[in-house]
């Protein structure tokens, strides 16, 4: 008896966004990366196209990441004081598809690094690796608004993915992207309507930017409300496939940033004997968080632990295998 396979026909597909730019395209990257473009829900190759595999960006900071748990620091050896060497190791040894450079040091409460300091680090990293870059500020709005323009200008034409534009504060990032040919992370607080509204606001500044937006739906770590992110992502993707142009962007998730502040990643086993080995548990927390988000349609995972990256990349390899009937 032949089972009648059920295939959904969607009206639309996710927008394809290109990250990075090669020499011919006005940048210096040796490779570019395409994300999005799928015309079905995650990994359902039997009914639609999944032209681009989800990618993994590894985080690099401009300062030594003091607050990271020891086992996470140990996984990198002695490069954590040198962003360029750190980035190079992520690409060469750990297989990072992109580097997410976070200017933690720009935080007025950390080093209050200036735009010039940040640009120097950025240039070193651009020189050390050939992959496309994601750039995050320090998370303090005022400071980030002050440095994002100069950073964008200094890397004109590289098509960086610039973070983050929010509903109340999108203009400086979007302007930098518009003026210097970069892409934008549009971040909304686990709210599909705000995600959409923000994309409309950005596109009103510049229509061509529509093809250079990546949605950050705001993700939570495993055990800390990830189900909200999961459902918002599923609904957004469903909207995209059904023709909502303002929701049809690829999605990015700040996995490492969310996971590695949670106590499951640093409480030692002698304090929580029921939770098992801390080193193994912490990286499993990151890999399982990423696994769940992939199942909801995540396109870019920003992560930290090399072993978690290895596991999720293998998971992606397996899920990208054709499953047509």
């Amino acid at each position: 008896m032949a089972v009648e396979i059920m295939k959904e026909k969607y009206r639309s597909q996710v927008r394809e966004v290109v990250l990075g730019a090669t020499k011919d395209e006005g940048g210096t990257r040796s490779t570019t990366i395409k994300v999005g473009g799928e015309s079905t829900l995650p990994f359902l190759h039997f009914e639609g196209a999944v032209p681009n595999r989800p990618v993994v960006a590894m985080e690099v900071w401009d300062v030594f990441p003091e607050e990271w748990p020891q086992n996470l620091k140990d996984a990198f050896g002695d490069v954590l004081n040198d962003p360029a060497a750190w980035a190079k190791k992520c690409v060469d040894e750990f297989g990072a598809d992109l580097i997410a450079l976070r200017f933690k040091g720009a935080d007025p409460d950390v080093n209050d690094a200036s735009a010039e300091d940040c640009i120097a680090v950025l240039k070193n990293v651009l020189e050390a690796v050939g992959v496309p870059l994601i750039v995050y500020g320090c998370g303090k709005l005022e400071k980030d608004n002050a440095i994002i323009g100069p950073i964008g200008e200094a890397a004109e034409g590289e098509n960086l993915l610039l973070g983050v534009a929010e509903q109340e504060n999108y203009k400086s990032v979007a302007s930098a992207a518009m003026a210097y040919k970069h892409s934008v992370i549009a971040q909304s607080p686990i709210d599909i309507n705000i995600a959409k509204q923000l994309n409309i606001l950005i596109s009103e500044m510049s229509t061509p930017l529509l093809d250079r937006i990546v949605i950050d739906p705001t993700i939570a770590a495993l055990g800390y409300g990830i189900e909200y992110s999961y459902s918002i992502m599923e609904r957004a993707r469903f909207g995209a496939l059904n023709g909502d142009r303002m929701l049809g962007m690829p999605m990015i998730g700040n996995v490492g940033h969310e996971v590695w502040s949670k106590k499951e990643t640093f409480i030692p086993v002698d304090e929580e004997p029921g939770w098992g080995d801390q080193a193994e548990r912490s990286l499993a927390w990151e890999s399982v968080t990423a696994m769940a988000l992939l199942q909801a349609g995540m396109n870019i995972l920003v992560m930290r632990h090399p072993q978690a990256v290895k596991l999720i990349k293998q998971n992606i390899d397996e899920l990208m295998q054709d499953n047509s009937y």
């Binding site: 990830i226 939770w275 998971n315 397996e318």
Partner: protein, 442 residues
């Protein structure tokens, strides 16, 4: 999924006799469609109509139980594809594989001991899958005896050799184990075994087509306590098969696939094993059988299950009350938030990362967030003061100082009057806590 009121109405006698308690047959039909009435209340409904209506209102996926008494596990009975539409009913049964060639006593002792506590919830391994890896019926039987003696967990008996299954099932039949599996060669014997012992049976195909064929044959033999295994073992293929089975059952009401599913991981490395199990748990497997029995691997899996199977229509709540973070003592700071899980977890995460032992006072706001609860009069000077009293906070800390969210700074004066405590206005967002704590408490 069910019939509409009008479709049901067509099957009713249309006498408007009122004996069902509703004024008209149409009103009764509407109540039936909403699940508020039972067809039994109609005195005149024909047998024919009864059958048509009850098969249409049967759940698209049959519920099947493994185990007995307090330990029974209910699975299946799902009605949705996406959790945002409506809650997934029955959390996936997490099952750890053991072999009849293992040092079983030692392995069972480890598995029995796996009890996880996280955010006030306790998880244990739901079942063990005993695999006849030796291929020897005698060894399988002996292993079943060890299982019977050494663990109270529910069991999946894994052998496609009907002879071995028969002897092991004799030992464990009282526990109502899941029989794995009927395949195209052994299904008559396996069905007979499962039927005679009244145990649920897994039907294993080589692909979806052969699975459907086999299910129909077994149903024709008169047995319906079934669980499906499409036979695939590659991550991507299993994802596709589980998705098809769920869609066909729920959307097309394809009865042949109206059963729950079981998925086995195929990895030897425990970290990879966990990732694969996570995919199957996310996408519709009612039972996931994996190999790792390490706490550090199973805790994330249980946590993901707990998240995925929450009710999306209810705000997730944490237990209201006092939550110590680290080794909190009488000199520790006290932060006050609501019992909305997202608010609480955000605050908890930030407070833990300050590495300063602290208390978090979670006020019962019925799972609403700070501003909503404030607007709703659930997060007020009175409710916070009452929580300070009812949790005995006054005896636990000496400093009598409480930090409230910056969003409700306006409560400061009233709360000081109401509670007699000093009130510090904290940051507006949880993300400001680290800096705030560094300045105030470090």
């Amino acid at each position: 999924m069910g019939l509409s009121g009008l479709e049901i109405f067509k099957q009713l006698p249309k006498t408007n006799c009122k004996e069902c308690g509703y004024p008209t047959c149409l009103a009764f039909a509407m109540a039936l469609a909403n699940g508020k009435a039972s067809l039994d209340a109609c005195p005149d409904v024909t047998e024919e109509a009864k059958e048509a209506l009850s098969s249409a209102s049967a759940p698209p996926i049959k519920m099947v139980k493994v185990g007995t008494g307090d330990r029974v596990i209910e699975m299946g009975d799902e009605t949705e594809i996406f959790r945002h539409d409506k809650r997934f009913n029955h959390p996936t049964a997490v099952t750890v594989e053991v072999k009849d060639t293992d040092d079983l006593e030692a392995r069972l002792a480890v598995i029995n001991d796996l009890i996880f506590e996280r955010v006030g919830q306790e998880y244990t391994v739901d079942m063990i899958a005993l695999v006849n890896a030796s291929g020897d019926a005698g060894k399988f039987k002996a292993a079943a005896e060890t299982v019977k003696e050494k663990t109270e967990k529910n069991v999946v008996l894994v052998s496609e050799d009907a002879g071995a299954m028969e002897v092991a099932l004799d030992v464990l039949a009282d526990r109502k184990p899941l029989v794995y599996a009927a395949n195209k060669d052994n299904f008559e014997k396996m069905t007979e075994l499962a039927k005679s012992k009244e145990c649920p049976l897994v039907v294993k195909g080589d692909d979806l087509n052969s699975l459907a064929e086999l299910v129909d044959k077994i149903v024709a033999l008169g047995y319906k306590e079934l669980v499906l295994d499409p036979g695939s073992r590659e991550t991507s293929k299993v994802l596709a098969d589980l998705t098809q089975i769920r869609r066909l059952a729920v959307r097309k009401k394809f009865r042949t696939f109206g059963y729950q599913t079981i998925a086995f991981t195929s990895k030897d490395d425990p970290q990879e094993d966990l990732m694969q199990a996570g995919v199957y748990l996310s996408k519709y497997a009612s039972i996931v059988v994996l190999k790792t029995d390490k706490k550090e691997h199973l805790l994330p899996l249980f946590s993901w299950r707990a998240n995925l199977f929450t009710d999306p229509q209810k705000p997730a709540q944490v237990q209201p009350g006092l939550h110590p973070i680290g080794d909190a003592d009488e000199n520790s700071p006290v932060y006050c938030t609501t019992n909305f899980s997202l608010s609480f977890y955000l605050v908890e995460g930030e407070v833990s990362s300050t590495r300063i032992p602290s208390y978090i006072l979670s006020v019962d706001t019925k799972g609403t967030s700070v501003l909503t609860a404030y607007a709703d009069n659930r997060y007020t000077a009175e409710s916070i003061a009452a929580a300070i009293k009812s949790t005995g906070l006054e005896d636990k800390v000496k400093n009598k100082n409480i930090v409230i969210p910056g969003l409700v700074a306006v409560l400061k004066g009233a709360l000081e009057d109401e509670s007699g405590w000093d009130v510090t206005v904290g940051p507006r967002e949880a993300s400001g806590i680290t800096k705030f704590a560094k300045e105030k408490f470090a």
